[in-house]
Amino acid sequence: MTITEALRITQSVPRDVRPFAVTLACGFTPLHLQTFLAAHLQQALPDRKVTITPGLYGNLVGTLESISGAALPDGLVIALEWPDLDPRLDYRSAGSWSVTAVNDIVVSARTMLDRIAAALLRIPAGPRIALSLPTLHLPPLFHTPGWQASQHELALQADVLRFAADVAQGARVTIVNNQRLAEQSPAAARLDLKSDLYTGLPYTINHADRLAAQLAKALVPPAPKKAIISDLDDTLWSGIAGEVGPDAVTWDLASHAQLHGLYQKLLASLADSGTLIGIASKNDPAVVAKAFERKDLLLRPEQAFPIEVHWNAKSGSVARILEAWNIAADSVIFVDDSPMELAEVAGAHPGIECVLFPGNDYHAGLAMLRHLRDRCGKERVSNDDALRLESIRRGAAFREQASGGATPESFLEQLGAVVTFDFAAVGEPRVLELVNKTNQFNLNGSRYTQPDWQKLLSGKGALLVAVSYEDKFGPLGTIAAIAGQADGNRLTIDTWVMSCRAFARRIEHQTLKILFETTGASQIDFRFTPTAKNGPLREFFATFLDEEPQSEFRLTRPQFQAKCPALYHEVREMRRAEAHG
């Protein structure tokens, strides 16, 4: 991105959209870093007007210590550099580089890192924090020649890494990956000494742009993909199982097929953290079943579901897998070694991301593995992530039985369903994650940054309910969230989402019943907005309103009671004491 492009991006935003205020804490003159950061954040938040407020020049820790609950920004970006730890590490400083001074610099840098860590801890909950560690070389102040790492230099670097590991432990601070940054901004091309000495900005334009891009991504990460559908022959393994036999396909080092083994390991790791893995292969089902019996397979068979193996078009397999998962194509990546198959699936499923498995091109293979991790990686893994695939399997069994001989009522009655309403879910990361990725049963499609979410829940009469569910088929985990405000006998709901895995169990009916009962509300106002995907929610409300809502609407308690079907759940409520007990 050029400066001109960055300025045009920031100037093209309508003035009347909601602001997104970011404090930029750095000890140098932010100049282009500020411009590029605004532009990259603006691209990530097209519905917001990003404004960047730089902190105090030469006093990064002072900027952090001045952030208080009175005027919290939506985001905090910290571009740490060596001079922030000791001014003698600044090319603009006249401080001594004597041997004695170097010893003292290490000590004072350690003290400053402790002070910065303490300041970060004191920042009230709300703003998300992105932090980059020093990106520039230390000045040549150590007594060793530059090709030798000095003991002091190593001590400084070790202290910075220790500090980063400490502050990254909580969920609040996201640290920019220095190795990834180095690929885009080579270390030797980062410092512009003349700019540093003349203007106070030490960065070359390219480095300012690349660092800003990484900081923006750390502050506003893109939503991860939910699932991967993979081919088998010459993708999950090397070889055509139908030709060489299930025992002769390979994915190991000795067969020069390790890239396939690495791919299996990556899929297994992603499955462990909640990414759904499905299989779409043109193959003989019996041969594939044999291959999946092999004990040396690195992707465990139970980690993949559904497995579609036949000789028909893969677009049909993908359609059935999407239906089983109940997610949209744009949340999914399809991996195959055949460009023709990729094109066939892409044509039938607009929005799906198609990735070519690159055969024996190891450079491209590694790039693909990293791309898949980037697109599906998560900041944290929750218990619900581990439950997801199993609950989808159970969902398939649920649907099978539900569509069997028993009447819907008798089927629901014998489920042994337990719905738990958690009224103390503030701060649960899973709840916001659910809000930001659910499309179909979603009141209005609103997505929230952490600070927006915090603001919504800190308003007068704010209410947040997280809903979890289990029945004889097993637990579904946290599957719904409702946020709103209670005011006397009126309740306003700003957000209501429910995972598609929880459909057809009348959980949404039970939720409304509980909302009416626990708040004493006689009516509920829903801040509804139709979206391209929230048809299931519209259909649900049509059963009470006799037509699908078109805009914000109200549901009264008598309207609800008149149409609510029989509910068979055991209901449990969690309040604050239990939730924290």
Partner: protein, 80 residues
């Protein structure tokens, strides 16, 4: 308006989006409050983007009006 003058005007519009077009030709650091040291460096980089060459920070203090920048660009163009 010749091409260089037009392209320089475009640069000013990028850096000072609120400045009326008719004020650009007579703009200087003395008359435009927004033309501070930060804007001067940004303007320099936008001119670099537009004209495809690097400018020297040492020249920055002297290039304090539209006309001076225009003359500077014409000279650079002649040298090139």
């Amino acid at each position: 308006m010749d091409e260089t003058r037009q392209r320089l005007t475009n640069c000013f519009q990028v850096v000072f989006p609120d400045m009326p077009q008719e004020a650009i030709a007579t703009a200087s650091t003395a008359t435009i409050a927004a033309w501070d040291s930060v804007a001067a460096i940004t303007l320099m980089n936008v001119i670099e983007d537009e004209f495809g060459f690097e400018m020297d920070l040492d020249d920055l203090a002297d290039l304090d009006s539209f006309e001076k920048l225009y003359s500077y660009l014409q000279k650079r163009h002649q040298v090139a």
